[in-house]
């Protein structure tokens, strides 16, 4: 086969994408495509792993055994999702340890939602319902992403996450129908998580520097604002069913567009949290770094055990 020049390779690559043929690990791909995916998938993996922390906070204080078992299962799923995704980054040639160190050094980002504290049990409801709800909305289109290993990981993740949202909503339903104090807890959690959940979809389309290229490569299928609008449209009726109040005085059904109009997002807050100044950024990254350092002996012990076991087999 004659050597192909890079433009011809890029043309063939884009042709495959346009024809909805998936890209697999050993296929030729433009370096930017590879780097974009490594960045996106590793940040997604970090979000799953850091996302275990705000909920882990409530495992020992879950109100009953059923709630505790459910929360444990959810947090365990998130660990699993992080692992699927770290594996997907490895198929692109990224080094897993480097990827994780980038999180700890602050070089790699993760979803800014996890930098908010979880101060009451109702937050477990709001997170499952709103945060997992927003994550599912982001992830469902990723099941059709052009990169095979990422798309396959997303199929598994989406299948598993549907219970996450339901268990959160169930918590909200119980609180909203409980004593006035419980209903107030539910409203308070909604008030605190509503706006950060809408921020999860990322900056407005006009500000989103990666969207156009990612859509051309079919890594992304919808823009940030499209997904955010979908989230608002789906969630507002759910808030009404709960008998709670949307914490946005500008929320209004728009007959003409067939969508809800909603208020301006505080982008200063968003960028401030992204840049590391949210209420829990330091705590979250410290927790991850300490976990790696404190777990080092376990990884070394496993290696020592493997060597010993292999020697025993050989003798």
């Amino acid at each position: 086969m004659k050597e192909l020049d890079i433009q011809e390779l890029e043309r063939r690559f884009q042709e495959k994408i346009d024809n909805d043929i998936k890209i697999e690990p050993n296929d030729w791909m433009p370096d930017n495509y590879r780097q974009t995916l490594i960045r996106q998938i590793s940040q997604h993996a970090h979000s799953e792993i850091v996302g275990m922390l705000p909920e882990g906070n409530w495992i020992t204080r879950a109100p009953n055994l059923r709630r505790k078992a459910v929360l444990l299962a959810k947090v365990q799923d998130e660990a699993g999702h992080g692992l699927y995704l770290y594996s997907a980054t490895e198929t692109l040639g990224a080094d897993r340890e480097d990827t994780i160190d980038d999180l700890h050094s602050g070089k790699a980002k993760y979803s800014s939602i996890f930098n908010y504290p979880t101060v009451s049990w109702a937050d477990m409801g709001a997170i499952g319902w709103l945060v997992d709800g927003a994550a599912i909305m982001n992830q469902v289109p990723l099941c059709r992403c052009s990169y095979g290993p990422y798309a396959r990981a997303m199929v598994r993740v989406c299948k598993e996450e549907s219970f996450h949202q339901r268990q959160g909503f169930e918590i909200m339903v119980q609180l909203a129908n409980g004593a006035p104090e419980q209903k107030a807890m539910a409203q308070d959690a909604l008030n605190r998580f509503w706006w950060p959940s809408l921020m999860m979809f990322g900056p407005n389309d006009a500000e989103s520097k990666h969207t156009a290229q990612s859509m051309k490569w079919k890594i992304k299928r919808h823009t940030n604002d499209e997904l955010r609008q979908q989230m608002v449209d789906i969630t507002v009726p759910q808030i009404e069913i709960l008998g709670l109040v949307v914490p946005d005085k500008d929320i209004k059904w728009n007959e003409e567009t067939g969508h809800y109009d909603y208020g301006e997002i505080d982008w200063n807050e968003f960028w401030n949290v992204v840049k590391g100044n949210g209420p829990c950024n330091k705590e979250r990254v410290d927790a991850r770094r300490i976990a790696k350092e404190n777990g080092m002996w376990v990884r070394e012990a496993a290696n020592a055990h493997a060597i010993k076991r292999a020697a025993r087999k050989a003798s």
Partner: protein
């Protein structure tokens, strides 16, 4: 050397008796037995399997995408390997 990175393993799961083991993903573990244990936790949390294979990733030898044409193109022209290539007169059954 005990502080090296755990090797990468490819995981294959048989979902039920009578079906093939199917590739589901990969993970890291210090040895094969620990890889099976980890695969249980990572890939079968919802009764997805009844049997697990793990294979160290660097033991897998794969065909290269650039060879795909020379490897697989020759069979494209051999349509006579499929039953639909043959004409069967009307009224013939059980064939």
């Amino acid at each position: 050397m005990v502080n090296k990175e755990w090797p990468l393993w490819e995981v294959f799961i048989r979902s039920k008796q009578g079906l093939n083991h199917k590739h589901v993903g990969s993970l890291r573990a210090a040895d094969a037995e620990m890889a099976v244990d980890n695969a249980r936790d990572v890939y079968t949390r919802r009764s997805e399997g009844i049997s697990i294979w793990v294979v160290e990733s660097n033991s897998i030898h794969a065909s290269h995408p650039s060879e795909a044409d020379s490897l697989f193109e020759p069979s494209h022209s051999k349509v006579y390997r499929h039953p639909t290539f043959y004409e069967v007169p009307d009224g013939i059954e059980h064939m």
